[in-house]
């Protein structure tokens, strides 16, 4: 179980031409759902991706500290592979591999050398946790791309769970889904927080209000306000937060 703490976190893209995150300091609590909200381009996805160092794929430069369980993941000693094992991620668009359901879930464990005889149990457990088991248990060998968007997204959640992470990052996981699938994923999030620390980026303020315990509001790369969701939505301290949640911009 993990807490995440950032100190003077700054992220730049393209040789410091774009300053995407400015001095972000936040403390994310374990076994809670923390929502990141804000208008497009405010840095919330950049922040999310700095937590598992996936930003580096896009050529980002990171300064400052991200401390997970008391260890700075940017101190140069952290093994990025171990980090990503501990910090799972679910993406905006469902992106299952073009393999069978089973192989998708088993992909991570296989990479990390889980023994063959343990795989079946692990796959089933992960699919159960992702509330997908009953729908796919007879179709394990079918190719994942044939399933609906919502099922694919829950498969991606199961895939992330299978490597046994402590933290799971969700990057607008419902933006490509219909309302029924969205409701299922939200219910799932409330379930999962008992075992995992969850950080979710969302465009949808109702969603943030429904699923999260804490909410962080980002604007132009800065963390404007952070606090308990109820508090933040009912009594925002900052004028800009108020403008945003009452729909005056963004």
């Amino acid at each position: 179980m993990s807490t995440i703490e950032t100190r003077e976190l700054n992220v730049y893209y393209g040789d410091e031409k774009v300053h995407a995150l400015k001095n972000v300091e936040i403390k994310i609590e374990k076994n809670k759902v923390t929502a990141l909200i804000g208008p497009s381009g405010c840095g919330k996805t950049t922040f999310l991706r700095s937590l598992n160092r996936l930003n580096e794929l896009l050529g980002a430069t990171t300064k400052g500290k991200v401390i997970i369980d008391g260890k700075d993941i940017y101190d140069g000693k952290e093994d990025v592979i171990q980090l990503r094992k501990r910090v799972g991620m679910v993406f905006q668009h469902p992106n299952p591999f073009p393999m069978s359901i089973y192989d998708n879930v088993a992909y991570g464990p296989r990479i990390h050398g889980v023994k063959k005889k343990e795989l079946n149990g692990l796959v089933e457990e992960s699919l159960r946790k992702a509330a997908l088991w009953d729908e796919v248990k007879d179709r394990m060998q079918e190719i994942a791309l044939k399933f609906s968007g919502g099922q694919q997204q829950r498969l991606c959640i199961a895939r992330a769970l299978a490597v046994n992470p402590e933290i799971i990052l969700f990057d607008e996981p419902c933006s490509a889904l219909d309302p029924v699938s969205t409701a299922k994923i939200e219910a799932l999030l409330r379930e999962l927080k008992h075992e995992y620390t969850i950080v979710i980026v969302t465009h949808n303020m109702q969603q943030a209000a429904r699923v999260s315990d804490f909410t962080a509001f980002f604007l132009m790369g800065e963390l404007i306000e952070f606090g308990e969701t109820k508090e933040l939505f009912e009594r925002p301290r900052d004028k800009r937060t108020e403008d945003y949640i009452t729909g005056r911009f963004g």
């Binding site: 794929l57 990503r84 094992k85 993406f91 591999f97 073009p98 991570g108 990479i111 895939r159 992330a160």
Partner: protein
């Protein structure tokens, strides 16, 4: 719309049908002619005998030679080409240098094979003293298809969506694990299809083989990689231009038929794989 306009439209439509028909007819005429003329030459003796006195005997060494040449060519070009493609698309930084390299590769893909054949003749055969041989021929063919292999593999690798790579990395897979298990696993039908198309080029090439591998009429199988080797293309070329008897021309047709058949088998497999690959990538 006036009646005149309608007639023009009709005529243009007919013109397009005719053009499309001519295209298809060109293929069927050439192929059909060769098959009709060549089928009379095909017999077990023809396929399994050795040629003698210019225009007699069979083409066994030529069939085997063509396969050997393609094999040496692929052994050289495939590892280099696929590795280069992986490096260029997955590791190399996206800067001026890779851009230039890519531009050169693209230019080289268009170099006439005759120029590469000339290079093979002068550099491999003479300077390095490899002689007219299976090795010289295979390597030179390899030079020819190398840029194609790189390009086809790169295209196949690029067609694998970036979201797969992200998903794999986010699960804690290393870069190479991601490339091997996700990128290559999805790109391989495309890569193989590109390799097969290159193989078809190698099988069908005449000029390079004529310059570097042998005179076409070899009546023996190569015992070493430094021996000269016959090929169906050069055999066809020599007989077509130098034989003046019915027997010689018939054998040239027979050899063309075998050559075309080999070529079609390779190409049809390649096109089949590519179509399957395209469908898979578009989510079927």
């Amino acid at each position: 719309m006036t009646g005149n306009k309608k007639i023009t439209e009709k005529l243009v439509m007919i013109g397009m049908y005719v053009a499309a028909f001519i295209t298809v007819a060109a293929l069927f005429t050439v192929v059909g002619y060769v098959y009709v003329k060549g089928i009379g030459a095909i017999s077990l003796d023809f396929l399994l005998d050795y040629p003698y006195r210019l225009e007699f005997g069979g083409i066994f060494p030529q069939i085997v030679g063509t396969i050997y040449l393609a094999a040496v060519c692929l052994l050289f070009a495939v590892p280099l080409g696929v590795a280069s493609a992986i490096y260029l698309s997955e590791y190399a930084p996206d800067n001026m240098i890779t851009g230039t390299v890519r531009f050169f590769v693209e230019c080289l893909a268009g170099i006439p094979s005759i120029v590469i054949g000339l290079f093979g003749l002068i550099f491999l055969v003479h300077y390095l003293g490899l002689g007219i041989s299976l090795l010289s021929g295979g390597l030179t063919l390899g030079f020819m298809i190398l840029p194609w292999t790189i390009r086809a593999s790169e295209e196949a690798i690029k067609a694998v969506p970036g979201s797969y790579r992200e998903a794999s990395l986010a699960l804690g897979a290393s870069k190479w694990q991601t490339i091997r298990n996700v990128v290559l696993k999805n790109a391989y039908p495309g890569i193989i299809s590109g390799i097969l198309l290159g193989c078809g080029k190698a099988i069908g090439d005449t000029a390079i083989v004529l310059f570097t591998a042998g005179s076409g009429l070899e009546w023996f199988l190569p015992m070493a990689i430094t021996d000269p080797v016959g090929s169906l293309t050069v055999y066809t070329y020599i007989l077509a231009t130098q034989a003046h008897t019915e027997a010689g021309i018939l054998r040239a047709f027979g050899a063309s038929l075998v050559l075309l058949t080999m070529f079609f088998m390779v190409t049809v497999t390649a096109l089949y794989l590519r179509n399957r690959y395209v469908r898979r990538m578009s989510g079927w």
